[in-house]
Each structure stands twice: as structure tokens, then as C-alpha cells.
Amino acid sequence: MTESLKVNVWRGTDVGAFASYDVPRSASQTVLDVVTHIQRRIDPTLAYRFACRVGMCGSCAMSVNGIARWTCRTHVASVARDGALEIAPLANLPVIKDLVTDMREFFDKWAKAKGQFKGTKTRHDDFARIAPASPERVAADAGIECIGCGVCYASCDVVGWRPAFLGPAALNRAWTLVNDPRDVAQGERLRAVAGDAGCHACHTQGSCGERCPKRIEPTAGIAGLKRLAARAAVRGAL
């Protein structure tokens, strides 16, 4: 293990350059520790996001050696080849400053995909009965843990090639709601997620599932949406 790390960090906005910093290594150091050290001890003008620092909130997602990861859950020892690291902001998102991206489009697409639950029951109605082992609930449960960190969105080439593409997170969220029998906006939702801006543009590259820190596989949900949309289109219901 080298004594210090040579860390290249992106400085600037969408236009900028990598700046190099020397950071002392320590045991069990994470990439977030490295960024924090730079900002607190070397260059206070460095902008970055974090919150929980224990792998629960997803705020610290950045590109580490080109791959989108949670920096608080990435040990330096596992990614620093020859004592060197490259840290950049997430791809496919506009850069506000340094390592901070503008997440608005990510969440706007979530809304565009009808990623909000819509129900009609009130507190005066009886509870809905959902069997936990039903195929729909199992499918929904597989995607429900998403915390909106943006790693999948930043890993998807189709997002880069088609600006209107909703992206894996939004489509995954839509899939969890499509599988919720309590939701009443299904027709609307299917129309929102079908087509070339939606599920049909997915080419099953699988980068989303490959990189998701929660091990969610949006490819599964997107395949499900493709099937539902195709059937609805044939029936004239799309």
C-alpha cells in the first residue's frame, strides 16, 4: 500500500479540467473520506455532496475511475490501482460545480413516468389485502428499495444517446407501481412509459443492474413494461 494517493478530481462545470491532489492513505479509507480530506484540508473551494456517509441516502454518488458508485461505500483499497484515483461527477447530468450535478432532470423524469402512487381508498375504507408472495408483489418488492441515487441513470448509454429517455430508475419505479393493485392510474402510467422515450428504447445493456448499489435490476421491470405495453398496444388500449 502506497503512503499517499494521487487523486485527480474534476474541477469546473461541464467545461473544466482534472486537478491533482496528494492525499494521505489510511486504513479502511473510503473515496468519500478522500474527497472530504481534499475539501477540508487542501482546497475548500471543492464542491461535493454527501449526507449519511453510511450507504443509505445515495447523495455521495460520483464517478470513480469512470464508474458510477457511492463514494462512502467504495473503499480506496479496492479501486486505487497503483495509488491513483480519478473522481468525477456523475455522467448524463449537467454539472453545477466540480462533483455536484443537477439532479432535476433525473427527478423530473421520475414524475414523467408517473412514478407517484395514485389511490382512491380513504381511511374510511377497509385495508387493501395484498398477498406478499403474489407474483406482482414479488416483482414490486424487487424494485421498491430504490433511493433515487442516480447511479443507474449515470451508467446508462441510452440516456446519453436519447435525451428524452426516462431512464432505468424512473422506469423501475413505474414498474413497482404497475404491480400495485391499489393504484388506479395504470392506463395513464403505461402510456407514460411506453414508446421510444420509455421502455422500448432500452437495449438491455444491463449497466443499470450491474452498477446499482442496492442490487436492483431495472432491466427486469423494463422488460415487464415492454410486454405490458405491447399487449395494450395490440388491444388498442395504449
Binding site: I67, A91, N92, H203, E210, A223
Partner: protein, 119 residues
């Protein structure tokens, strides 16, 4: 807006390579098809018409091209079967074993075709 695109290092996983091979082979085959049909259409001029063309196919360069296309076809077929399973069969992950199988079938088909050409 010049947003950062996905880095090449993030593309280094089996699922992405499967996509790349599938897209490249599909494009090559799509461009090849009209040429293939034109060549077969020469049969409208009877045997001499087709034989005239087949003489060209005796060159090594041509045979190499044919062999490549046959392997691309086999790879595209197996990669496509994997995609159909992912999209229509019950979900069981990205089916990475099928990527290996696709490559294996591509190689096997290539060997079979090469043997048929040589023997």
C-alpha cells in the same frame, strides 16, 4: 450542453459487450442482405448468371468474408435468443451464461463452416 457521457471503463461488463456485438453484427447483416439477394437474383439469368458470380466466391478474401458473416449470424442469433428470454421469459437475471453460450455457438459455427469450406 456538453454533458459527460458514460465513460468507456463503465462499459467493461459482459452485458455491454453482448449489446455491442449484437448491434455490430445486426448492422453488418442488414447491410449484407441486399447484396446477398442481388447475388442470388443473378439466377434469373440461369446457371451461367449465377456461376459467373460464384467464381468470385472462390477467392480467399471472399471466403474469409463469408466465414465472418456466418459467425456474426450465429452470434446475433444466440444473442437474440438471450434477449427474447430476458424480455419474454420469467426474469432470471441478465443470463450472462447465455453470453458465453452465444460466443461458443459463434465459434462452433465458424469452425463447422470453415471445415465445410476446406474439406
Amino acid at each position: 450542453m456538453t454533458m459527460r457521457t458514460v465513460d468507456y471503463r463503465a462499459r467493461m461488463h459482459a452485458g455491454y459487450w453482448a449489446f455491442a456485438v449484437h448491434r455490430a453484427s445486426g448492422l453488418a447483416l442488414a447491410l449484407f442482405l441486399p447484396v446477398h439477394f442481388w447475388a442470388l437474383g443473378l439466377a434469373l439469368q440461369g446457371e451461367p448468371g449465377l456461376d459467373g458470380f460464384l467464381r468470385w466466391t472462390d477467392s480467399t478474401a471472399f471466403k474469409l468474408g463469408e466465414w465472418t458473416l456466418v459467425m456474426l449470424l450465429a452470434a446475433h442469433l444466440m444473442g437474440g435468443v438471450r434477449l427474447l428470454l430476458i424480455e419474454f421469459a420469467p426474469w432470471s437475471g441478465p443470463r450472462k451464461s447465455l453470453i458465453a453460450l452465444a460466443m461458443g455457438c459463434g465459434v462452433a459455427t465458424g469452425l463447422a463452416f470453415a471445415l465445410a469450406l476446406i474439406v
